[in-house]
């Protein structure tokens, strides 16, 4: 199916474990983004990527790692999950960065216990 998909949709993990959230888009968009959404904070940018093998930090990158070996995939890894990383995570993609709108995946609800 065309679009942007995230997996898993829901995840519960324990403190200290490594967790990887997957994001896949079929449009060949250059730009991809990871956001977290918490009550009262709106969407905050974790990492973004302008192209394959090009990534950069956003507003709240600490505790997260990303990679982008292929244009269509942009996984987000929590190296050692903490309770403060309990959140809803959204992946987004955009064709031309600032010139076109970003399209969002359905989100992953992550709970760290």
């Amino acid at each position: 199916d065309a679009g942007i998909t995230q997996s898993p949709r829901y995840k519960i993990t324990e403190t200290g474990r490594q967790v990887t959230l997957m994001c896949h888009q079929t449009w060949s968009h250059s730009y991809m983004f990871w956001y977290r959404q918490d009550l009262g904070h709106g969407l905050r940018l974790i990492y973004y990527s302008a192209a394959a093998d090009i990534t950069d930090k956003g507003e709240v990158p600490d505790g997260y790692v990303v990679s982008r070996s292929k244009t269509e995939n942009f996984p987000l890894t929590l190296e050692s999950a903490t309770r403060s990383q309990t959140s809803v995570y959204f992946c987004a993609s955009s064709e031309l960065g600032g010139y076109t709108e970003a399209f969002f995946g359905q989100g992953t609800r992550l709970t760290v216990v």
Binding site: G42, L43, E59, G98, F104
Partner: protein, 111 residues
């Protein structure tokens, strides 16, 4: 630091009312401002505004940008219960590679 502030944080209206949502920003030489609607899942795109004073319309929704005063408004006329959602404003930074979001406005339309 780039900053986007939305107001009000939440509001409750009755069907048929008209609402105005506000978004002010502090992003020097920004590229565009975007509005999204979020209903318990992924944000969906509404408008992209790049030029000051030009209104964008889609049905009962409209939006306008004032680049001099650094704000935008989103109007919804003849509100319906289906308009209940969180409305997010986002601004693209000067390099066009980051969307900075406001905290959102929670709109609830009562029947």
């Amino acid at each position: 630091e780039d900053k986007v502030v939305q107001s009000p944080l939440s509001l409750v209206v009755h069907e048929g009312d008209t609402v105005t949502l506000n978004c002010s920003y502090e992003v020097t030489n920004f590229r565009s401002l975007l509005w999204y609607k979020q209903e318990k899942k992924a944000p969906t795109f509404l408008f992209m505004l790049t030029s000051s004073g030009i209104e964008k319309k889609s049905g009962r929704l409209s939006s306008i940008l004032d680049k001099k005063e650094l704000f935008s408004i989103l109007n919804i006329t003849a509100t319906q219960t289906g308009d209940s959602a969180v409305y997010l404003c986002a601004v693209l930074n000067p390099y066009g590679n980051k969307l900075v979001f406001g905290a959102g406005t929670i709109l609830r339309v009562k029947s």
